[in-house]
């Protein structure tokens, strides 16, 4: 993006620049989080909910260092994904043919989702802090970690439905997002929704280690962030041109 | 075209001032801006506290600390220090080139400094990975806890420094910008990273 000379110090340019910074935190910290994800010894394959308390306790005492590394990284860098969702909020607020109600709902839903995400890693870390604890309690902490990590998809579902709706309602001559982004957001919401079963089932595809709950949910979310990075990059570019900030 | 003209016009007075540099030296000038100095001096105080805390814990178990210190690779430590010193030299010269109006040279020197910074991170990563492979992890003992935390926080400063150097590069490349105080502020930060490493090197690698 080529910022125009005369626009360099204007507030509307700073608005674009701060959004670009927020956007670029996603790939940078996305890579960091991917490393943390790959480093967690209990993701390949995901730990079964049917493990006995002794097996869970043994898992934590065998792999303490890597669990700590992975979850500390999630703790420190996980919320650095929030900025890209806030760029989506700012863009939703640019939609001309609607009130900003969807944008504010999206913002609050994002905060709820991020809060739960920030909570999960603490349970894993407490379990790994003293692996010699009573195995029943290690299992309890492990269950809490997994359930809070996988099951509460409600916020993400609501966010994506809101984004989809906002895009459908944005039917003026100059829409912010292209229409397929709306379909894609709804599709992501549908793909993530069944993972709620992780709160109930201990076996099968919607248990927390199941294909749907673990791989489909996390895959859909990751892909959504990647796709939205490119979508938002284009949207920001267009905004910059429309507002006379860039060429 | 317009660029070269501007450079020539600007380098005129600059060379004059550097000829009678004895006088130029005595002129009082705060490099960068006061905001960056608040950052740097505050950071120095914070790191100073870390260093003093390190010494207090070292004094409690001098034998354990010295024995662990022996497991660090002094060659890598010296190499990293030299790399960082070289980067500081590049950046210091880049500031002087900026003042002399030679943007192209300043840009080249900044790239040199940045490359040294990247090399520092690469060498540090190699050092960490060999230490971990040898079984010296963060939970081995107090010395290695300090080793990983101090070098880790310093590494964060190096990365931040590289980001700041990136901003410096953008500033230098943009003919309408090139504000000397921005270049100086970035350099001040980078030299602080160097300064902190000098202390870390002395405390972790060399002292007995």
């Amino acid at each position: 993006m080529q910022i125009l000379a005369e626009a360099e110090d204007l507030p509307k340019t700073a608005n674009i620049k701060t959004q670009l910074i927020s956007l670029w935190t996603a790939p940078v910290f996305g890579v960091v989080l991917l490393i943390a994800f790959l480093a967690f010894p209990g993701f390949f394959p995901p730990m079964s909910p049917e493990m006995t308390a002794e097996q869970v306790a043994k898992f934590y005492s065998d792999h303490t260092a890597m669990i700590r590394f992975s979850m500390v990284t999630f703790n420190l860098c996980g919320i650095m994904l929030l900025p890209i969702f806030m760029v989506i909020v700012v863009q939703m607020k640019r939609m001309a043919t609607q009130s900003h109600v969807f944008a504010y709902c999206y913002l609050t839903a994002a905060v709820t989702g991020a809060t739960l995400f920030a909570l999960a890693d603490i349970f894993y870390l407490v379990a790994a802090f003293r692996p010699a604890r009573n195995p029943e309690l290690i299992e309890l902490l492990n269950d809490m970690g997994w359930m809070i990590f996988i099951a509460p998809v409600g916020a993400a579902v609501a966010m994506n439905l809101l984004l989809g709706l906002a895009i459908y309602f944005d039917d003026g001559p100059n829409p912010v997002f292209q229409r397929w982004v709306g379909h894609y957001a709804i599709g992501t919401a549908l793909a993530m929704a069944p993972a709620v079963g992780a709160a109930v089932f201990t076996t099968g595809p919607v248990a927390w280690n199941g294909v749907i709950s673990f791989w489909l949910r996390n895959g859909a979310f990751t892909l959504f962030v990647i796709v939205m990075f490119f979508v938002l990059r284009n949207v920001l570019h267009r905004q910059a041109i429309d507002e006379g900030v860039a060429r | 075209m317009a660029n070269t003209g501007q450079t020539a016009a600007e380098s005129g007075p600059a060379t004059v001032s550097s000829v009678n540099s004895a006088e130029g030296q005595r002129r009082v000038h705060l490099p960068g801006d006061v905001h960056m100095w608040v950052m740097v001096l505050g950071d120095l105080i914070i790191f100073g506290a870390y260093f003093i805390i390190f010494m207090v814990f070292r004094a409690m178990k001098p034998q354990e600390f010295l024995a662990s210190e022996q497991h660090l690779n002094i060659n890598i430590g010296v190499l990293n220090t030299l790399v960082l010193l070289a980067s500081s030299w590049f950046i210091a010269r880049s500031v002087q080139a900026t003042r002399a109006g030679d943007q192209a040279q300043a840009l080249r020197l900044t790239y040199g400094g940045g490359l040294c910074g990247v090399a520092f991170i690469a060498i540090k990563a190699y050092e960490w990975s060999t230490k971990i492979a040898q079984g010296y992890t963060i939970s081995s003992n107090d010395f290695f806890m300090f080793y990983y935390m101090l070098t880790g926080v310093h590494l964060f400063h190096v990365s931040l420094g590289l980001l700041i150097l990136g901003i410096t590069v953008r500033e230098l490349r943009n003919p309408r910008r090139r504000r000397p105080f921005m270049i100086e502020a970035g350099a001040t930060y980078w030299h602080m990273v160097d300064l902190l490493w000098i202390v870390i090197f002395a405390l972790l690698y060399v002292m007995r």
Partner: protein, 92 residues
């Protein structure tokens, strides 16, 4: 482009690098196999060299040499407090 200022910077860098290489001889990790023993003279030397290096960086790279007085005082105070503190704790 080799002005006086440039030359001074280069000299400062050379001295800094030379001190670093000297530090290589002082480090305890050479005595492989043998256990290193604490040594007050070496530590005092390290502290002195660290002080000198720090001051060179502050004066010549950070250009505090030509900076306002308060900055000179502050950086010198920091350097002195740090290294005197380190040495005092070590000797205590």
């Amino acid at each position: 482009m080799t002005t006086t200022v440039a030359r001074t910077t280069t000299y400062a860098w050379m001295v800094l690098s030379a001190i670093t290489i000297v530090s290589w001889w002082l480090a305890p990790s050479h005595t492989r196999g043998a256990v290193a023993v604490a040594s007050v003279p070496i530590t005092v030397a390290v502290v002195l060299l660290g002080f000198i290096k720090g001051r060179l960086i502050i004066q010549y790279f950070m250009e505090v040499r030509t900076a306002p007085r308060w900055l000179k005082l502050f950086t010198d105070a920091w350097l002195t407090t740090l290294w005197v503190g380190v040495l005092a704790i070590y000797l205590y």
